[in-house]
C-alpha cells in the first residue's frame, strides 16, 4: 500500500517537474536541419547576433553569468542547451515562451541558423548534419529575383518572382511571399501573406491611407517566407504610393510652454500694454510733480515782486 502511494507521489512529482521544466518541441520541428553548413563566417555573424539579441539573458557562453529568471535561461555552452537537436533550438528561438521572447519577427530563419552555428561552436563533440533533402539553400530555385511594381488601376502592389530552376530562368510559383512597408522601428506587414501563381505573380491590396514621406514615397520590402528553399531572397523598392505627409514640428506653434521667441501674441500684447500703462502713469506723476514745482516757483516770484 505504502509502495503504491509512494509510486503515485513520484509520478505526480515527475509530471509536475516535467510540466514546469520541459519545453516540448513537436517531432517534425525537432528533426529540422540547417540548410547550410556551419563555418567560420556563419559563426561570426551568429556571434554578433548573439551579442545583440541573446547575451543580455544567456550571458557569455561558458561563464555561467545568466540572469535570474524563472525558468532560468541556460548557459549556451551547458549540457542542457547542447542536448537540444538543431531543429529543437531553431523551434525554441522561433517560438519563444515566457520569459524568452519569440524571435520570428526579429531574426530571419537563416539568421537563427547562424546563431545556432555560433552556439554549436561551444560543443567539441558536435558534428553537423546538413539537410540532405534540401541540400544548400536555394534548391527550389536559385538566384531568386523579386520585382515589385504598382498596379494603379487596382490599387495593388504586384510582385513577380523568378529564379533559376533546372538551369533556366523560370517564374517561382506556389511560394509564400510577404510585403512590408518600412517604418522607423520595424516593418509593417501589408495585406497578408500570399502565394505566387503559375506566372510567379502575387498581388497585395495596398491601404489607401498609409502615410509616406513628404512626397508620398514608401519603402517596400518583399520577402519569400521559405528561406530554406529560396535563400534570403529580398527586394527593396521605393514607390510613391503613400499619402504625402508633412506634419509641422510639435514645438513650432506659439504657446505658453514654448520658448521666448514663440510667446503667444496675446501675451506679448498684454505684457507690452501693461508695461506701457505702468510706466506711463509713473511719467505722468513725475510730470505733474514738475508742473507743481514750476507753479510754486512762479508763485514765489509773484510774491517777492
Amino acid at each position: 500500500m505504502i509502495k503504491k502511494y509512494l509510486f503515485l507521489v513520484l509520478i505526480v512529482l515527475i509530471s509536475f517537474h516535467l510540466s514546469a521544466q520541459e519545453w516540448v518541441v513537436p517531432a517534425e520541428e525537432g528533426v529540422k536541419l540547417s540548410p547550410f553548413a556551419f563555418n567560420d563566417s556563419t559563426r561570426k555573424v551568429g556571434a554578433d547576433l548573439y551579442n545583440t539579441n541573446c547575451k543580455s539573458c544567456h550571458g557569455d557562453p561558458g561563464k555561467n553569468n545568466v540572469i535570474n529568471l524563472v525558468p532560468p535561461p541556460p548557459d549556451v555552452a551547458s549540457v542542457k542547451m547542447q542536448t537540444n537537436s538543431d531543429g529543437a533550438l531553431h523551434f525554441k528561438l522561433v517560438q519563444g515562451r515566457a520569459p524568452m521572447p519569440s524571435f520570428k519577427n526579429i531574426l530571419s530563419s537563416t539568421d537563427i541558423w547562424r546563431v545556432i552555428s555560433f552556439v554549436r561552436s561551444f560543443n567539441d563533440k558536435y558534428v553537423q548534419v546538413i539537410d540532405t533533402k534540401k541540400g544548400m539553400a536555394g534548391t527550389a530555385a536559385s538566384n531568386v529575383k523579386i520585382q515589385v511594381a504598382w498596379v494603379k488601376e487596382q490599387n495593388q502592389v504586384q510582385m513577380v518572382i523568378s529564379g533559376m530552376k533546372e538551369n533556366k530562368i523560370q517564374p517561382v510559383s506556389g511560394a509564400e511571399v510577404k510585403l512590408f512597408a518600412k517604418r522607423y522601428f520595424g516593418n509593417l506587414l501589408i495585406d497578408e501573406a500570399r502565394n505566387t501563381d503559375a506566372q510567379g505573380k502575387a498581388l497585395f491590396n495596398f491601404p489607401k491611407d498609409l502615410p509616406g514621406d513628404s512626397a508620398g514615397f514608401v519603402q517596400l520590402i518583399a520577402k519569400l517566407s521559405d528561406e530554406a528553399a529560396y535563400g534570403e531572397a529580398k527586394a527593396d523598392t521605393t514607390l510613391a504610393i503613400g499619402v504625402p505627409t508633412y506634419r509641422p514640428p510639435l514645438n513650432e506653434q506659439r504657446a505658453m510652454w514654448n520658448v521666448v521667441q514663440k510667446t503667444p501674441i496675446w501675451l506679448l500684447l498684454a505684457y507690452t500694454f501693461t508695461v506701457l500703462v505702468v510706466w506711463g502713469f509713473i511719467f505722468y506723476v513725475l510730470l505733474q510733480i514738475r508742473a507743481i514745482y514750476k507753479a510754486g516757483l512762479r508763485k514765489d516770484h509773484e510774491t517777492t515782486d
Binding site: P101, L189, L250, N251, W257
Partner: protein, 322 residues
C-alpha cells in the same frame, strides 16, 4: 760625424721645431678651437636633446576597441567631448517624427522588467521611478489591473509652461526633456505635472561618484545631478539610433508599443511586430489619461480587457518588506 750628423739633425730638428712652432701653434690653436667648438656643440646639443627627450614614464591605457596599450605619460592630452553639440542635438530633436507610446493594460503582469531596464539606463536607485506601476481598481466589484505610468510627453505640457529658466522643454518630435545643467531645482514642474511623472533628487544620485567628470548627456540625463528634477525621456538616445526605448524592449509580456505617429505605425517591444497606430487604437478603444485637462498626452492606453491570467496582488508583500 755622427755628432755632426746628430747636431745637424738636431738643428734640422730644432729648425723644424722652430719652423713648426708657429705653424704648430696655429695648428694646435685651430685644433683645440675645433675640438672645443665641437665639444661645446655636442654638450649643447646633448643638453638640448635631454631637454626635448620624451619622458619615458609609460601609462597603460584601455582603448575604445578594448585593447590595452602603453602611452608615454607626457603625451596624454585631456580631451573634452563637445557637450554643447550634445545639448544642441538634444534640444532640437529628430526631424519629421512624432513619437507615441501605446500601453496595453490587458497584458501587464507587473514583471517590472521595464522599470529595472529604465533604472539601469538612467542610473536611478531602486526606489526612484521614471515609470510607476500603479495598481488600479475602478470599483470594488471590478477586477484590479496594473498600469505602468511613464511621463505622458504632453503636446500641451504644463510642466514646461511653469519652468522659470527654460530647463525643461518640448522638442519637435514631441519629447519633453530636462536640461539638468539649467535646472535650478525649484520643483515648479513637479507641482504642475498632473500625472506625477517627475521626481526630485533630494540626495546624491546613484553612481554620482562613478559618473563624475562624464559629459552630461541631455538625452539620457546621465550623470544625474543632486538638487535637480528627472523624469522619463522616452529613451531619446535610443530613438536617435532607431532603437526602441529601454523599457519597451525589456518588457517580456508585450505591453508596450512604440512608434511614430507621422508614419501611423507602432512596434511591439516584445514581439517586434509592427501595427497601424490608428487601427490599434480604434479596434481596442485606446484612450488618454485625464483627457479633460487638455494636456494632449503622447501616451495612449488600451483598456484592461480579456485578461486571461490571475492578478497577483503584491501590495501586501511590499508592505511586509517595508
Amino acid at each position: 760625424m755622427s755628432n755632426n750628423n746628430n747636431s745637424t739633425d738636431d738643428r734640422i730638428n730644432s729648425e723644424g721645431e722652430d719652423k713648426n712652432s708657429r705653424r704648430a701653434f696655429f695648428k694646435n690653436f685651430g685644433l683645440i678651437g675645433a675640438v672645443a667648438a665641437a665639444g661645446g656643440a655636442a654638450i649643447y646639443s646633448g643638453y638640448k636633446y635631454e631637454e626635448s627627450k620624451p619622458n619615458h614614464d609609460m601609462v597603460k591605457v584601455l582603448t575604445a576597441d578594448n585593447r590595452l596599450v602603453e602611452v608615454p605619460r607626457d603625451q596624454i592630452k585631456d580631451i573634452k567631448l563637445d557637450t554643447s553639440e550634445l545639448q544642441r542635438k538634444g534640444r532640437e530633436g529628430l526631424k519629421g517624427h512624432r513619437f507615441v507610446m501605446v500601453i496595453d493594460l490587458s497584458k501587464c503582469r507587473n514583471a517590472r522588467k521595464c522599470i529595472s531596464a529604465c533604472q539601469g539606463a538612467h542610473h536611478l536607485r531602486p526606489y526612484e521611478y521614471h515609470i510607476n506601476t500603479l495598481v488600479m481598481q475602478e470599483s470594488p466589484e471590478t477586477a484590479p489591473y496594473y498600469m505602468p505610468k511613464p511621463c505622458q510627453h504632453c503636446d500641451n505640457p504644463p510642466c514646461v509652461a511653469v519652468c522659470p529658466v527654460n530647463a525643461t522643454f518640448k522638442r519637435q518630435d514631441g519629447i519633453v526633456l530636462i536640461d539638468n545643467e539649467r535646472c535650478i531645482g525649484c520643483r515648479f514642474c513637479i507641482a504642475a505635472c498632473p500625472y506625477s511623472a517627475r521626481l526630485f533628487h533630494w540626495e546624491e544620485p546613484l553612481m554620482s561618484e562613478a559618473d563624475k567628470g562624464k559629459p552630461y548627456n541631455i538625452e539620457l540625463n546621465v550623470p544625474q545631478k543632486k538638487g535637480t528634477v528627472t523624469k522619463c525621456l522616452f529613451s531619446s538616445d535610443r530613438l536617435r539610433e532607431g532603437k526602441l526605448p529601454y523599457c519597451v524592449s525589456a518588457c517580456p509580456n508585450g505591453v508596450y508599443y512604440f512608434g511614430d505617429e507621422n508614419q501611423d505605425a507602432v512596434t511591439n517591444g516584445t514581439t517586434k511586430e509592427t501595427y497601424r497606430l490608428s487601427e490599434l487604437l480604434r479596434v481596442n478603444g485606446g484612450y488618454h489619461l485625464m483627457p479633460e485637462l487638455g494636456t494632449k498626452p503622447r501616451v495612449f492606453y488600451l483598456p484592461p480587457k480579456n485578461r486571461l491570467f490571475e492578478f497577483k496582488d503584491t501590495r501586501d508583500q511590499d508592505k511586509e518588506k517595508i
